[in-house]
Each structure stands twice: as structure tokens, then as C-alpha cells.
Symmetry: C2
Subunit: 475 residues, 2 copies
């Protein structure tokens, strides 16, 4: 233990305030503060001192809610905050807001931090360390990317900055760069605010997390919503004028813009971890064991958007920035730090989203994921409805299913449809976790009543067709 370790920076913190051990948490959002809270539930302040560093203005907030705040569905940002700094402090967590950790000294078991207001630096020793540094949005190194009116939407601060721009801008043309989850959700937000929205997308179809045939359905639906969809576009820069952004330039042409939102994706924020020599994976995220302990480091845990997770279907590591995983990681870390035992076994890659009334869902592997994993498979696509066909508001949905060749094991499901479509993916997510075959799935006892499902749920219809495909392909 290092509670009395020397420090070489003025203003350092020593001692653990009388506690037996000190836990240091880097990052005050979902993973970090869930870990801190769970550790606190298991061990009181006499046993465990908890110090948490957050460089921003907020803790424990829903970044996933930002598009709905921007779109006006949610008054904010207060509603997006699950627990304020003050609430954490009331639970005996020593939370240092606006304080950035600038170095992890693994050998010395301490972190260096800088108060972003005063500039003061300090070393804080730890017995146990949790790294929850999150992700950072991809921001291409192109002309004009830092111009006024070009916004990411990763943090509440980003959301507020975008809202300030929208309030100050008279023009009503918005360009969203990127057509993944954030891109399509921001397209909805801007449509809801009355903007003319153009989505500029590098891929051939939007939603690259789906197979292209399913992405095509999303493109059609978004076009029908009045969104201008520009696919296969390479952004070359942002055209700016005296008052900020004027257009998004691509190799093919310019798209006039009064505001630009970047939704190109995120990367694990592992600058500190990399500098400290901690193990990173192919996607740049920290590598942990199943207890969320950083590999090879007994006293360091990591979770949330800065780690890679095991994909249970492909058997390989992925990077998935999603609040629901971050919260689970935090719970697992907090339990282990608190002397309990918990694991995060991995993910199956479930994600749901919507654009106005279009619902989009996926779980498991896309065709290219399956090929990359060395799997051979059959694919089927069916159309069905969310309710009995004769029931009012029965909404069409398209379900695509992948099943392994010969074994018939479920590999993945993608759904594009209207109300009642997206959350059906959970059925497949549980079946994937359980390693079910599509034949086993055909016998699933799913809830049936005319307002909720056709007599064969769309997932069952897809499974039945997949059984036939697997049989035909058996050789």
C-alpha cells in the first residue's frame, strides 16, 4: 500500500483519511461512478476511501440522451444526469470535478492530476485504480473541422454548445456527417427542430452496423422522412465564412450548412493508459479479464467506453461505446473492488435506435463479421408485422437472420421496422447468449396476443425460414 508514498508535486494528497485502502477512479461518468458507488455499498468509508477525478462539469449522465435533448424531446441537461457530484459526495465519494488526470504511474501506484480551474497539480497514491476514461469522438484532421458551428455530441458540454449554436443561427440547413447511431439520431433531432437535414455518409448505405441490404431500408425510410441522404461521400473539409461554417465539402460537391454535426464514431480514450504501458487491443481499447481487471495488473480495473469487450459470438474483441455496458462494467468492478465477485462475460452486440418512427435493431454478427470470424452461414430475410395482421396499426418489419451452416446455431439478427420492431431483437440476444440453434428458436414460447404479435412472432417466422435454409445448405 502506498498511502504514505512521497509525492513530487506540490499539493499532493497523501494518507487515506484513516481508511484501510484508497480506491482512485479516473472518470466520473457511467462506468467510473457505478464502480465507485457499488464499491461504496460494499465497503464503508472506514474501510475504503474513494477518490474520483472528472475533468468535465457533470457526473453520471446519459450521453445517449443528448440527441433527444437537442431534438427537444427532453428538457435538459438536468434530466440526463442520474447522479450529481453533490449526491456522490453525500455517499462519501471524494469527487474532484474539473480535475484531469494527466499521468498514471503504475510502478509508483499513483496518478497525477491537474485542477483545470487553478492549474494546480498533485499526485494521488492508490491501492486500487479504476480507469473509466471513456471514448472520444473521431474528428478528422481536415480543414475547418474546428470552425464555429461544427459540433460533436459526446458530452453534455458538447450538447449545450450545439444548442447554443442552434439558438444563434438563423439558417435552417444542417449537415450531419456520419450515418451511424449518432448520425441518424441527430438527423431525427434536427428534423424535429425544423431543420433541412442532409446526412453525408462515407459508406454505400447508412447504418454500417447493419448489412448493406438492411441499411438500404434505413436509407429509403430516411429519404421518405425528407432527409437528404448522401452516400459514398468522402468529406474533404468544412467550408467556412466570416461567421463560421458555410458548407461541408466532399470530393463530389459541397453541401450548404448553417450547422454541422459530427457523428463519425468514437475511439477509446486511452491516451493515459497507453502512456502508462497498459495493454491495449487492436481497437485501441484497454484489455481486461472477465472480472474487468486490466490484464496483468492485479490492482487496476477498467470499464466503459475505454475498454474492449469480448464478443461471445465471434470470440474476438470489439469496441462498443454504450451506456448499458458501461453501467454493467461499473457494477462488476465495484463488486470486485469491494471484495465481492462478479464478471462481465461479454456481449453479443445488441444495439437499437430510431429515426422518427423508424426502428432499427441488430444483435450478433453481420455477414462480414461472420466471414471474418471464419464462420459459414445461411441468411434469410422475412417481412412480418408487429401485431396480428388484422389488428389496428400492425406495422411492417423486416427481419434478417444469420445461422451457422450445418449446426444451425443462431449468429445474428437485424431488424428494420416501425413501432414494436426494435426491442424484439432482445429475443435473439438471449438466444445468442444461450447458444441456441434456429431450430430450437422455432419452439420458443413467446408472448402472443393480437395486439402484441402475429400468431407466429416475426422472430419465429425468421427462425423457421432459417431452419429450411440450414437444411437445404446441409452438405
Amino acid at each position: 500500500m502506498n498511502r504514505t508514498s512521497a509525492t513530487n508535486v506540490a499539493g499532493s494528497t497523501g494518507g487515506t483519511g484513516g481508511a484501510a485502502e484508497r480506491l482512485v477512479v479516473i472518470g466520473g461518468d457511467a462506468a467510473g461512478m457505478s464502480a465507485a458507488s457499488q464499491a461504496r455499498r460494499m465497503r464503508g468509508p472506514d474501510e475504503l476511501e474513494i477518490v474520483a477525478f472528472e475533468r468535465g462539469h457533470f457526473t453520471s449522465y446519459s450521453a445517449c440522451g443528448i440527441p433527444y435533448w437537442v431534438g427537444g424531446d427532453v428538457p435538459g441537461p438536468d434530466r440526463l444526469i442520474a447522479r450529481s457530484p453533490q449526491e456522490h459526495r453525500e455517499r462519501d465519494i471524494d469527487l474532484r470535478m474539473r480535475t484531469e488526470v494527466t499521468e498514471i504511474d503504475v510502478a509508483g501506484a499513483r496518478v497525477r492530476s491537474r485542477d483545470l480551474e487553478s492549474g494546480a497539480e498533485a499526485w494521488t497514491p492508490y491501492d486500487k485504480l479504476v480507469i473509466a476514461t471513456g471514448a472520444r469522438p473521431v474528428r478528422p484532421d481536415l480543414p475547418g473541422m474546428d470552425a464555429p458551428g461544427v459540433h460533436g455530441v459526446q458530452t453534455l458540454d458538447d450538447g449545450q454548445a450545439l444548442l447554443d449554436t442552434l439558438a444563434a443561427t438563423r439558417g435552417r440547413r444542417a449537415v450531419v456527417v456520419g450515418a451511424g447511431y449518432i448520425g441518424v439520431e441527430m438527423a431525427e433531432a434536427l428534423i424535429n427542430r425544423g431543420y433541412e437535414v442532409t446526412v453525408v455518409n462515407r459508406g454505400a448505405e447508412p447504418m454500417a452496423t447493419l448489412d448493406p441490404d438492411m441499411g438500404r431500408l434505413v436509407r429509403t425510410a430516411m429519404s421518405d422522412l425528407g432527409i437528404t441522404m448522401v452516400d459514398g461521400a468522402t468529406v474533404t473539409g468544412i467550408v467556412t465564412g466570416a461567421d463560421g461554417v458555410r458548407a461541408v465539402a466532399t470530393q463530389e460537391g459541397e453541401y450548404p450548412a448553417d450547422v454541422v454535426v459530427l457523428g463519425i464514431g468514437v475511439r477509446p480514450e486511452t491516451t493515459l493508459a497507453r502512456a502508462a504501458g497498459l495493454p491495449l487491443g487492436d481497437h485501441g481499447g484497454l484489455l481486461t479479464d472477465l472480472a474487468m481487471r486490466v490484464r496483468g495488473h492485479e490492482n487496476i480495473w477498467a470499464g466503459g467506453d475505454c475498454v474492449e469487450v469480448l464478443d461471445l459470438v465471434s470470440g474476438s474483441e470489439r469496441h462498443i461505446a454504450l451506456g448499458t455496458h458501461a453501467n454493467k462494467h461499473g457494477q462488476v468492478i465495484g463488486s470486485n473492488v469491494g471484495g465481492g465477485y462478479a464478471t462481465f462475460p461479454g456481449v453479443v452486440g445488441t444495439a437499437v435506435s430510431k429515426v422518427c418512427d423508424l426502428e432499427i435493431a441488430r444483435t450478433g454478427l453481420r455477414e462480414k463479421d461472420a466471414r471474418r470470424a471464419g464462420l459459414q452461414f445461411e441468411t434469410v430475410t422475412i417481412e412480418s408485422t408487429s401485431r396480428a395482421g388484422y389488428y389496428p396499426n400492425a406495422a411492417l418489419m423486416t427481419v434478417k437472420m444469420l445461422a451457422e451452416r450445418r449446426t444451425g446455431r443462431l449468429l445474428g439478427v437485424q431488424i428494420v421496422g416501425r413501432e414494436g420492431a426494435a426491442k424484439r431483437v432482445d429475443i435473439a440476444a438471449v438466444a445468442l447468449t444461450a447458444g441456441m440453434t434456429v431450430e430450437q428458436m422455432t419452439a420458443l414460447d413467446l408472448g402472443y396476443a393480437p395486439p402484441f404479435s402475429p400468431v407466429w412472432d416475426p422472430i419465429l417466422v425468421a427462425a423457421r425460414k432459417a431452419v429450411t435454409a440450414v437444411r437445404r445448405g446441409a452438405r
Copy 2:
């Protein structure tokens, strides 16, 4: 094969029209006609002659849709018919409408039928027999039960008769006897038609398929909808006047009624099977093996509402009248009759329903089911929302979960809530099928986005609480 067997009734059918074998199906609704259709897909008319008997006027219809037809949500009854007699005949199924099978001669491998129009009787020999005689509504032997204005809602004919009564009746007071699925759905239907609705129920709470604590939530919600809920009532008869029904009489008092709907439940219609000496279970349903073959009878299959099914959680047989099971049974039977191979492994007891905007769902075992099965268990109940708490129209739901003591195996889930509540039960249905523990469930990768779920889905919240309960109870 009996294609040339002698018959002792005038008008009997011999020969198989040149086909190698004859399949006889008793019952023209979901199970029977699914079996016939699937068998036809697998074997052409040259190989297999198919004769189906239906005593009513309709085939392959959704009885589950009747409440929505009566309530005015669905124009009908045509919309409720999946496949008409003519469509079946076009698929080379020799369908005998309004023809009732009156005897199964197992030793002689033939059935006796009576044309309900002409009264003509005939024996039809079979090589393979499918019994799909459905269920009949419970109609207590009490005074006035057969009076004009007292209606069951089991068949399309029943639905039409009820609608005729509603059209002819000026009074607006409806009493529904029974508060199970049919009872609560008919209460909604009659509310939607502008009736004053009273639900008279024998149990202490409505929805006896839920535990009483969850049933209480349903009662409160139904009362809030303006429905008069009379619980713990013993119906003693129907009070009639010159023009039909006047009131429903109970031991406690009379409830004035211009129309009465019976929703007391159904029993397997196995009169023919019983007379033929076929094996019946404790609930009066036919007993089959996993291929839906009647036990001990190589050439007789049975499916749908007339059979008992294996409950995979309790390990015992149950009777569940539900179209989704009937369709699966039909598929399995048709595949096996057609020379393929399929099984119906059993059910986990999933059911969903709604009363106006109240959603009700269950899967697995109630407390009393678990006790009856010899299981010890922990129960937890949580409240959560269908969407992120900050998202518009986030609706409260209550989730109750049962987990086995010590092992933590999931035993059952019940949900009462608003929009987005009911179909979440599918997550638990798949987890039950897979034999998951509540601890395994806490790691499920369920779809998360603010419009679709809180960051911890309600099912995960319940699972987490159940883990704690199981740990506390471990001894």
C-alpha cells in the same frame, strides 16, 4: 391400411382416391389445418389423401381476435380468417364443413361423421389420424345460463351471436363473468363499445394466472378505467325476464345486465378421445409424446387446445389454450405425418394480454406453481419504466421475478404496466427455455437506447434484485 375397409353406415367413404395413404383430420382450426397444410407441403395428393372434418362454418381463424372484433378494433369476421375452406380445398385438402365427427374407432382405424345439414352419417377409414378438437368454454350448470343474451366467445359463431345481441339490445349494462384473459379482453371490448361494464370474478383478484399481488395491480387499473370489479363472487345463476337476461346473481347480490359474457375459461374438448379410450391427463387433455403423437398410438397425433403440454419449468403437464401453441403443434404434426421429423419440446407458460392501455404478461411459474412443483424460491418485485426515465411517455411497469433458492435459476416473471411492458416477458421466456440463472441474466446484452429502455432494462433490474435475494437466502 384400411382404404378398403367395410363400413356399416350408409354413405361411407372408402378408397383414398388413388393416394397411397389417407390422413384424416378432426377439427378445421389452427392445429388441424396447420397439420393438414404442412403435411400437404411435404407430400402431394398422389402420396397422401387428406380429409378434414369441421363442424362449424369457418376454418383457420383467430379465436384470439374475437374480443377485438366485438370491440370494434377489427372489422370481421373475415379479417380473422387466415385461410378459408375454399383456399384449403385449392391445396387438395378434402374439407368437409359442417360435418361433425361423432366417433373414433381406434381398432378399426376409422371415424364416423355426421353432416350437420343433411344428417347423413358415414365412416371414413384413416391410415393416419390427427385429433384437433380444440377446447370448449366452461359453462356452469346454473339457472339461466342458456338464456338469450348470455354469450361465450370461443368461436366466430359465438362472436357473431354476441354482436347480434349487442345490436338488438338497448340497455348498456354488460356483466362479464370471469376475470382471466378472455374476461379482461371482453371487458375492454365492451368498454370500447360504450357499455357500463361489471366484471364478476370468483377469485380474490382478477387474472388468476398471475400471483395475487400482481393481480391486485390489474384490479386497480381496471377500476381506474371505470370497470366495476366484483371479486370473491360466487355466481348462482342468471336472472332472466321475458326478453332475456336481466342480471347476474351471486351469493352476495345481483348485478343488473343487458348482456352477459362468459369468460370462465375453457377445458379440452376430448369427448371423442375419451370415448375412444385414448390417454387423457389430469386436466382432461390428450397426452402426447414430444412428436405430438398420442401416447401408445403409432398413427394418431393430437394438437392444439385439446392436448396437455409439458411445462418445461415445473416438469409437469398443463393445459394451455393458445393459438400460438396450436399453430406450432400443427406444424410439428404435419412434418411428422409428412415423413419428416419435428418435436414440440414444451412450453414455459408465456402469455400476454391487455385491457385498454394496461399490459399484462407472465411466463414460467407463479408462487403456487413453484410450490406445487416442490421448488423453493425467492421473489422480488421492482418498478421501472419502459423507456429512459427522462424520455417522453416513459411508462411505469412492475416486474415480479421468481428465482430458485440456492441455484438462482429463473422460475418465472410477471409484468403489469403500460406501453412497452408486455413483450418484455419474451426475454424471460427465452431465458427460462435456456435454463438461465438470474445472475446470468444480469449480464444479458439487451437493446438499449433512451426511447426503448432505461440503461438497465426492467428485466435486468429485477434480475439484479433477484441475485441479491438468492445470495441472502443461500444457506
